[in-house]
């Protein structure tokens, strides 16, 4: 089984892309989130070094990264890539446009409420963010329902958005649990709710999205054709099974998560796996995650072997390294379940996974996608006329090499520092990550050229358009 074109034979094709203003505005919000994250990471690096992972400021920092930058950036990319990969227009550009503002307001309020631990704000802005994310996932799922493209890529992207809906619902329940608004019954399940939220969001949404779209992006940027796709369904099956075994494992352990003192009624999935002890399911789930990443990396090797662009650009090299970080993160998770070593072990696994895999992938592809969008908006009309300006002329991919290498080194130091409990190494890693993210933000802003974007926005508003 090999990769092949999905277009209908003989059919004349038309572009399905949404107006560029839609992905761009999400990505600019994502860049703002990255800038805030870099500053906040510098400010909070001392807290990280003390292993204070669940303090309000660190929780807020995590959500500035996940909601403010990663998810915002991902939403913009998904709006663009869904039409590219699945050959259908978005179900509603109008809803997606308006939802942007709802999302921006919700995330700003929610992360602020987390930092100040303002429980009313958590409920109000948490609800606002939840509604915006339901709307976003609804637009994408309605779009996917219309496509004739089938296969693992669709399976990953579709599942990612179902998982996002579940992750948001669990987060909302968790807010009710920790603020006491859900009653004592819900409050005692706060830890399994937290674990389920993290698994569904980080693995179920972000990882599924990254793996799914890499089936399109990697061949596109390396000009690869004729590679084998026979492993892809196995990666999808392993990912699903691993994720859900881990989720079941969290609840099977009872409110405390370790099964200690939990009655049969408090262990709702115990009937399904009476032979297993606490955390065994989580370990097996993480092990299946390892198998999924090995499979995925073998697929990536197959894509690279069939590439037509001999030189693999630094952002693509970094995206591949990020996939390897996913494997390392999953291995650390297995280790964490088999050999429990306290919060530090989990911090290192989450650091490698969330920063190495997810953030690394977003930044890597950001170096390719943002210049493409800017080039298309500003220079595409000159193509074939008086200009041969290439996308690489806007942002030379080589500029990504030191930034992404510095970022990767910072992630490794952060992981080692948290694993060993070394304050100095952790702070050094945080400084390196913050510096790399800051340079990435500066590069993107330079390409977008905010002054020119402002002029274009004013001009479009003057003509009755919606600006950027």
């Amino acid at each position: 089984m090999n990769a092949h074109a999905h277009g209908a034979p003989g059919a004349v094709s038309v572009s399905q892309s949404p107006p560029l203003t839609l992905p761009i505005r999400h990505m600019l919000l994502g860049v703002l989130g990255f800038a805030l994250f870099a500053v906040d990471l510098l400010a909070q690096s001392l807290s990280l070094g003390r292993g204070d992972a669940l303090s309000p400021v660190v929780v807020a920092l995590t959500h500035v990264l996940t909601l403010g930058s990663l998810l915002s950036f991902a939403m913009g990319a998904v709006y663009q890539l869904t039409t590219v990969a699945f050959l259908v227009p978005l179900a509603s550009v109008w809803a997606a446009r308006w939802n942007f503002w709802l999302y921006a307001a919700g995330v700003a309020g929610l992360t602020g409420s987390m930092a100040a631990w303002w429980t009313l704000g958590l409920t109000v802005f948490g609800t606002l963010t939840a509604v915006a994310l339901y709307a976003y996932a609804g637009v994408v799922l309605a779009t996917l329902a219309r496509t004739q493209v089938r296969g693992p890529m669709r399976g990953f992207v579709l599942s990612a958005h179902v998982h996002l809906i579940l992750a948001v619902t669990v987060a909302w329940a968790m807010i009710l649990a920790v603020t006491g608004r859900g009653g004592p019954g819900l409050a005692r399940w706060a830890m399994p709710l937290l674990g389920t939220h993290i698994l569904l969001a980080v693995v179920g949404f972000f990882t599924f999205l990254v793996v799914g779209f890499s089936y399109k992006l990697l061949p596109m940027f390396t000009l690869s054709h004729g590679f084998s796709i026979r492993r892809q369904p196995w990666t999808l099956a392993l990912s699903h099974t691993g994720l859900w075994l881990a989720v079941v494992g969290l609840w099977w352990g009872g409110p405390g998560g370790d099964g200690a003192g939990a009655s049969a009624a408090a262990r709702p999935f115990a009937w399904a796996v009476p032979w297993a002890g606490p955390q065994i399911l989580d370990a097996i789930g993480a092990l299946l995650g390892v198998a999924a990443f090995v499979n995925h990396l073998l697929d990536i090797r197959g894509i690279l072997r069939k590439r037509m662009r001999k030189k693999v650009e630094p952002p693509i090299q970094a995206a591949i390294a990020a996939a390897a970080a996913g494997l390392l993160g999953a291995l650390l998770a297995v280790l964490g379940f088999v050999w429990p070593r306290g919060v530090g072990a989990w911090e290192s696994a989450v650091t490698v996974y969330l920063l190495g895999l997810i953030t690394g992938t977003v930044m890597s592809y950001g170096y390719k996608i943002v210049p493409f969008l800017v080039w298309t908006k500003r220079y595409s009309k000159q193509a074939g006329r008086d200009s041969t300006l290439r996308i690489a002329d806007l942002l030379n991919p080589e500029r990504a090499r030191p930034v992404l290498a510095g970022f990767g080194s910072g992630v490794i130091l952060l992981a080692i520092g948290t694993e060993l409990g070394s304050w100095v190494v952790t702070v050094l890693g945080a400084l390196l990550v913050a510096a790399a993210v800051a340079v990435f933000v500066a590069e993107v802003i330079r390409v977008v050229d905010l002054r020119q974007a402002g002029r274009e926005w004013s001009a479009r508003r003057g003509k009755g358009g919606d600006g950027w």
Binding site: A5, S13, K216, H225, M308, S380, A383, G384, T388
Partner: protein, 100 residues
Amino acid sequence: MINLDEVRERLKEVYDPEIGVNVVDLGLIYRIEETEEGRLHIEMTMTTPGCPAHDTLSEAVEWAASQVFGVGLVEVDVVWDPPWTPEMMTDDARRALGWL
């Protein structure tokens, strides 16, 4: 009568913005024919279905072809049959991509 060789040469000035190779050497141009006097029909494809540069490339091809003497109207159809394969590239394209 349109000089189709001149059209082909003119299309060599249309570059894929990501790859940096022109559409003729990439093998994206399948057919160029004058269906009636002054009317040009071009069939082309993309390296991948749903290519993000779809509009840019097809519009650039249309504009470039319209600059050739005698061309009054250009129709560009983007088709997927046969699907593009690397074998359609010229040696110049392979050289530009680092393989020769």
